[in-house]
Amino acid sequence: MIIRGGNVVFKNGVEKKDILVKNGKIQKIADYIPADGGEEINAEGLHVFPGLIDMHVHLREPGFERKEEIESGAKAAVKGGFTQICCMPNTNPVLDNKVAVSYVKYRGKEVGLCKIHPIGAITKGEKGEEMAAIASMKKAGAVAISDDGVAVKNARLMRLAMEYAKGFGIKCLCHCEDKDLVDGGVVHEGLSATIAGLKGIPRAAEDVIIAREISLAETLDTPVHICHVSTYSGVRMIRDAKKAGIKVTAETCPHYFAATDEIILGYDTNTKVNPPIREEIDKQAILEGLKDGTLDCIVTDHAPHHADDKNVEYNLAAFGISGIETSFGFAITYLYKAGVLTLPELAERMSYNPAKILGLEGGEIKEGEVADFAIASLDEEWTVDNSKFLSKGKNTPFNGYKLNGVVKYTVVDGEVKYGESALAQKEGSKTKTIRVCGVKMKDKE
């Protein structure tokens, strides 16, 4: 395959190049590569990014297939430009053993769109009582451990899990939330919560656990990763910790840099997310943190839900936003177009850093690297329309938002897995491609 004439987003700059792909790898990058009669993608006027990596999604399978399945989630992912996604273990059963982890891995391969990496639980059943079988899960393919959805309440148990995991190089991804401080809150504690008469979640509910995890990382000299940072104070603590040489990395989500808590006025339950969308001061700090590298990654925390989980009173609605199909658009519009990040920086936050943190392939366009790409038009404007989501979760508060940045092709291991336009067909190819809502899937022969 040749990707021709695209503006290639390298680690240190953007250059117009041709890319030759052979056997799922990038074989050659040059100003001009002669046609070889094989498949070609005309990337003239488009930008070629390293395949995006989302290290924080919820695929809901097994157990909550009404909300999402691995297949629907993977379709949504490739539409969003993602070539690798890491799914959280809060399924039913919880991914806290090698059998469950293997199942997700197997289903991911069977679906055959993007690469799906399961994340194992830190504790059995995410109950925060006993450590899960971390070593076995790692052998079965878990790329990290997390009790996402809850924090491990017992600091001693968290310490032991971090120490144990350190022994074989697997990281803890920490969902930071003190339930006592949350105290039944459903939105950010501030003026908007007061106007709406909804119970607030103070920043401290997130910050005290961020502080604890940083302290454990320092004490144990072991790396720790902070999930979905939403507070300005959390950003500051992580920045200070990095300066002090503590091995901490962190992620944030588009809804924390694109929205503020006024969005909850009107009681749209699609605005309900954990941690909550906070205030302008937080949004600005998140942008600053992304710019100066305090926040290493942009993830979606893609949390699909069924309409029934949201069409209820605000207090009763499920937390979560379906975000994997809008993440790239938000990043291009609110970060690149707004002058916060350059394209190489954006690619670093959405691909290189997640790969580095989790030890995954990809993350960079260079010869010899895996041929994972997101090929996109940056200027094309589009309007968020959840009825067109491929994810089963239509729960976005951003319907009607105008964004730039449209993914045209997603290439995984040298194969086009998503693409709207027709491609040059492989001569004598055995694989027939079928079109499933724009997603090309291999027909089983």
Binding site: L191, S192, G197, L198, E313, Y314
Partner: protein, 312 residues
């Protein structure tokens, strides 16, 4: 004109709308006092009173208001448990709509629930209290009693003391009174004041004396035992001693100041018995004001429906 389908809160109520409700309520109040309790302004209409929380005062007040207006009333005591376990609010709303109810009066323990119901049903929805959010007819009845006493609302100094944080009454009063040009002062333990109340126009005071001094209206809010149990303050005794209103504190208010309380009162906690039974107390008068403003709200919403003007 009150050109609304629903009355969900005072957050977006205009001065004209509030005045219109209070004017009509004043008329109804006089008629009730004269013994005229059989009006036909809502005859042939059905008003369903749907309460997901216990209440005697507000529920009976709405029922009485609807009955005085000649409507058929249906009372559903849903109980809090059915919120979590049973039929969803949306489905309940669809059922009530299918029965061709004209109005649904709802009390619900969760903020914003009436907005969800109003969006779902064709019937007009009246919010009878939603969680910590609003209780518009309570604020309207408070304003009616104030206006009757002082002949105006503009320029009045209203001190609200008690559990501001969990009080839909405080918030509706704040919205309504600010719109009408009154000054609203609030005082409570810091744990019972929600974030940003000052930005909404309330003057947050640092002592009960500061709040009450020179006030025209002193309003106590119920301190629920469960708030103490949840750790918001150490004991009811400590609350009464530092935050309650007694005769000594009330003496700082204007000589013709009045005392209000949405009820039910905890005697000796937020207000002493001496204050509750004070000659300047209007707590009992509030009850009749309640029936009158609810009659007015139902009547005006019904007129808007009949005229096809329920645009909001």
């Amino acid at each position: 004109m009150l050109n609304r389908k629903d009355l969900l809160g005072l957050i977006d109520a205009s001065k004209e709308e509030i005045t219109e409700i209070l004017d009509l309520a004043e008329e109804f109040k006089q008629r009730i006092k004269r013994g005229e309790k059989k009006l036909d302004r809502l005859s042939g209409k059905t008003v369903t009173v749907l309460f997901y929380e216990n209440s005697t005062r507000t529920r009976t007040s709405f029922e009485q208001a609807a009955k005085y207006l000649g409507a058929t009333t249906i009372n559903i005591a849903a109980g809090t448990s059915s919120v979590a376990k049973g039929e969803t609010l949306v489905d309940t709303g669809k059922t009530l709509d299918a029965q061709k109810n004209d109005f649904i009066v709802m009390r619900h323990p969760m903020g914003g629930a009436p907005y969800l119901l109003a969006k779902t049903v064709k019937a007009g929805v009246l919010n009878a209290g939603d969680g910590m959010n609003e209780h518009p007819t309570q604020a309207l009845l408070d304003m009616l009693t104030m206006r009757e006493t002082f002949g105006r609302l503009e320029g009045l100094k209203v001190a609200i003391l008690g559990d501001i944080k969990h009080s839909r009454v405080a918030k509706s009063n704040l919205f309504g009174l600010k719109t009408m040009g009154a000054e609203v002062r609030m005082f409570a333990p810091e744990t019972l004041i929600p974030k940003g109340m000052d930005k909404l126009g309330a003057k947050i005071c640092s002592s009960r004396e500061e709040a009450v001094k020179g006030a025209d209206v002193v309003m106590g809010l119920r301190i629920q035992l469960e708030r103490q149990q949840a750790g918001n303050f150490p004991s009811l005794g400590e609350y009464a001693a530092n935050y309650g209103v007694d005769e000594k504190v009330f003496a700082l208010a204007k000589p013709n100041a009045i005392i209000l309380h949405p009820g039910p009162v905890n005697r000796g906690v937020e207000l002493t018995s001496g204050i509750i039974d004070h000659e300047r107390s209007r707590i009992e008068d509030q009850v009749l004001s309640g029936v009158a403003v609810r009659m007015a709200a139902l009547t005006l919403l019904n007129e808007a429906r009949n005229n096809g003007e329920a645009t909001k």
